[in-house]
């Protein structure tokens, strides 16, 4: 299918992934309290230290208040109405060892989402961990990765099979009481992915996790942990979708990345949660804490994100550059349409000497949406010769959307070099008319203008995702002018 055909097949801006999978769930009560947390832990057959981690986090969470500084407005979720664990009924009560154990309905769901799990159809060159509601359903290419010494599995499995690694690193980048939603996640986290790349290893294929929320009542509290030992390298991709419901669903994830000496982690996200309808009904609340720690010298962490979904987003994939000569990067395209609200950006914390960070953020607002960039560049006293370069561009489509930027720069070292460039532009009638006069229809014209605007970021994405992102931007903005 050509790109144009793909676009045409989705004309009208319909959310393509809004279907629901009809599967049977195991019973689980709604609400949150100590018993609920113990029950989650029991069902997952966790060791005592994980339960303690959860309970401590819950204690902290109870003391905390939901933050109100992001530039978004929404009705606070009622935490008693949420189901914190949601698992489908299994044939023998255990995680699937092979595909035969996975519910056909779920397999079909991933097939429909374009992530076939069956061996002969699997995506070439990409290993996938498929997460459905609170559980990891299946991980492909596990054996192949194991040959290279790479561990790729769900976090629940990692807790069982590699407890020493999880114990050492979980909560070391995002502490359990870091913020309101990180504390909540630490208390009730269910699944998510675990990656461990040993010393001197280039992970032989791209790794990816595909998150799917299906159950209307459940929140998704995934937890991802990626560790790259000295001189190792991994590229990790994350995709996500959800059905269309009138109610809002909560997605509060924690992602922790650790890069040791000379290690490099590239983390890419295509976020396409359901964003609610034109009137702002329904959609996912996406409150996520993502942080990377360049723990060793000359390590590097890159975040690339294309954010198009969610009713409300706040997330700031950040990098702490502790090791000398370490590098942090953030490349972001955030698109909002209809009544969506996004408050997203990054924090680049320079601790080590000669650390370098780059921020390229492109915000596109259409409809009646609001899109904010919020970024912190912090240079600590001992970060000699730290450098940051930030570009933060906003594009407005139509007359009723909003774009805002909140850059914070804190420098405690006089040798630091910090550059910040910002611009706001409007997709002008003139630009569209120009392209239309050259024969392009209005939607193609906007798509071309927007793609040009985002090019710097899109080219950071791995190939397979770049095509997906291109289509996504086009679909998202169809009919947004006028």
């Amino acid at each position: 299918m050509s790109e144009t055909e793909a676009l045409e097949s989705m004309v009208g801006g319909e959310y393509k992934y809004g279907f629901t999978t009809d599967v049977e769930y195991e019973d689980f009560p709604t609400g949150i309290n100590e018993d609920i947390i113990r029950e989650i832990s029991r069902r997952k057959d966790e060791p005592e230290w994980v339960l303690e981690f959860r309970l401590e986090a819950f204690e902290k969470w109870k003391q905390m208040e939901e933050p109100d500084w992001p530039n978004v407005e929404y009705e606070k979720p009622n935490f008693d109405d949420i189901q914190y664990y949601s698992s489908t009924k299994k044939k023998d009560g255990k995680k699937a060892e092979s595909l035969e154990d996975v519910d056909d309905q779920i397999l079909e769901t991933y097939e429909k989402l374009g992530i076939p799990l069956e061996e002969q159809k699997q995506l070439q060159g990409i290993a996938v961990d498929a997460v459905f509601d609170s559980e990891s359903i299946f991980t492909t290419f596990k054996e192949k990765l194991a040959e290279a010494g790479v561990i790729f599995c769900s976090i629940s499995e990692a807790i069982q099979d590699h407890p020493e690694l999880v114990k050492e690193y979980m909560g070391s980048v995002v502490p359990k009481g870091d913020n309101f939603y990180a504390a909540l996640n630490s208390a009730v986290f269910s699944d998510g992915s675990f990656v461990y790349v040993p010393e001197d290893t280039v992970c032989p294929m791209d790794l990816s996790t595909y998150f799917r929320i299906n159950n209307m009542q459940s929140g998704q509290f995934e937890r991802t942990l990626i560790i790259c030992e000295d001189n190792s390298h991994v590229s990790y991709l994350e995709g996500c979708t959800a059905p269309m419901y009138q109610e809002n669903q909560l997605h509060a994830a924690v992602v922790e990345l650790v890069a040791l000496e000379d290690a490099e982690i590239k983390y890419s996200t295509i976020q396409n949660w359901y964003s609610g309808d034109e009137k702002g009904q329904g959609g996912i609340f996406n409150f996520v804490t993502k942080r990377g720690h360049c723990r060793g010298d000359n390590s590097k962490i890159s975040w690339t994100q294309v954010e198009t979904g969610s009713a409300i987003t706040w997330k700031y994939p950040s990098v702490i550059m502790q090791g000398d000569g370490s590098i942090g990067e953030f490349f972001s395209v955030a698109v909002t349409n209809n009544r969506q609200q996004a408050d997203t950006g990054t924090k680049m914390i320079h601790v080590g000497e000669n650390t370098k960070s780059t921020i390229i953020s492109k915000g596109i607002s259409a409809g009646e949406s609001d899109n904010s960039y919020r970024g912190l560049v912090k240079i600590s006293p001992r970060a000699e010769n730290a450098q940051n370069y930030s570009v933060c561009d906003s594009m407005l489509i139509g007359q009723t959307s909003g774009a805002h930027t909140f850059p914070y720069i804190e420098s405690a070292n006089p040798t630091a070099k910090v550059e910040h460039e910002a611009s706001t532009s409007r997709v002008g009638e003139d630009q569209i008319f120009y392209l239309q006069q050259r024969g392009m229809d209005e939607d193609d014209a906007i798509s071309l203008i927007v793609n040009g605007f985002c090019k710097e970021v899109l080219q950071e994405l791995p190939m397979e995702f770049a095509v997906e992102a291109d289509k996504l931007l086009g679909i998202k903005l169809e009919g947004s002018v006028g």
Partner: protein, 259 residues
């Protein structure tokens, strides 16, 4: 080929009437020049023909090859073979000339029953056209008009016209802001492109481009109407005597103030 009949046009936003009954017929193989003082409606006429949404046609009609095009969007008019070289070409950062033009070429080719070109074929084709306007091959790899000088933007418009091979082209003050060498290049390009089967309408303020392109017809537009039509001698007369002799006493002061 193109027939404009008693065309009345006002600005959509505030209803100001700009064209007050324009009549014009343009045939294959002809070069027309539309001249006139600032604010007389020349640019508006080109934009309306191209399908700009900021204007509303309140009376009259525009026929292309016998069919009214008033209901067609700008892109649909482009598909028929209508081209507008912009007075102020727009910048589209991040989109290369090559990508834009190949997409445009193939869309129009499909509508006009021509063969579509793959990227390599298109590159060869486009490079040939670049020579017409004396532009370097790397131009097609650059973002559309981004960082181009004024002269480069104008040449780029003529290059696009050469690539898209329209049936009728309106060139809106393509000569303005060009030094004499660039003007010659642009004029040569236009001469190369025009043939018996297409038509060119030069919308211009000055006579000087007409030293290089000989128009078959010259029209003077004043206050939203064609006040006088003639041959190339009319342009020379305008150069010598200005527009005042064509302006009726009653409207003269009004136009005077506008200038």
């Amino acid at each position: 080929m193109l027939e404009i009949k008693d065309l009345h046009v006002c600005v959509e936003e505030d209803g100001t009437e700009i064209l007050k009954g324009v009549n014009l017929t343009i045939n294959e193989g002809e070069v027309h020049a539309i001249m006139g003082p600032n604010g007389s409606g020349k640019s508006t006429l080109s934009k309306v023909v191209a399908g700009h949404e900021a204007y509303e046609v309140t009376q009259g009609d525009i026929l292309f090859e016998g069919e009214s095009i008033l209901e067609l969007e700008a892109d649909e008019r482009a598909h028929l073979g209508l081209f507008l070289a912009f007075q102020y070409p727009v910048e589209v950062p991040g989109v290369t000339n090559k990508n834009l033009l190949r997409q445009a070429y193939n869309t129009i080719a499909a509508e006009r029953g021509r063969e579509e070109l793959d990227p390599l074929q298109f590159e060869d084709y486009a490079k040939e056209k670049l020579e017409l306007v004396d532009m370097k091959p790397e131009f097609i790899e650059r973002s559309v008009n981004a960082g181009f000088s004024g002269g480069e933007k104008k040449r780029n418009e003529i290059f696009q016209m050469a690539v898209l091979d329209p049936k009728i082209s309106f060139l809106d003050e393509t000569d303005s802001g060009l030094d004499i060498d660039a003007l010659k290049t642009v004029a040569n390009g236009i001469n190369e492109i025009s043939d018996d089967e297409n038509a060119v309408v030069l919308v211009t303020h000055y006579q000087r481009i007409l030293d290089y392109i000989t128009p078959d017809h010259v029209h003077v537009m004043i206050d939203g109407k064609i006040a006088k039509s003639g041959d190339k001698d009319l342009a020379i007369k305008l150069e010598e005597q200005g527009y005042d002799w064509l302006i009726e006493p009653a409207t003269a002061s009004v136009n005077g103030e506008q200038q």
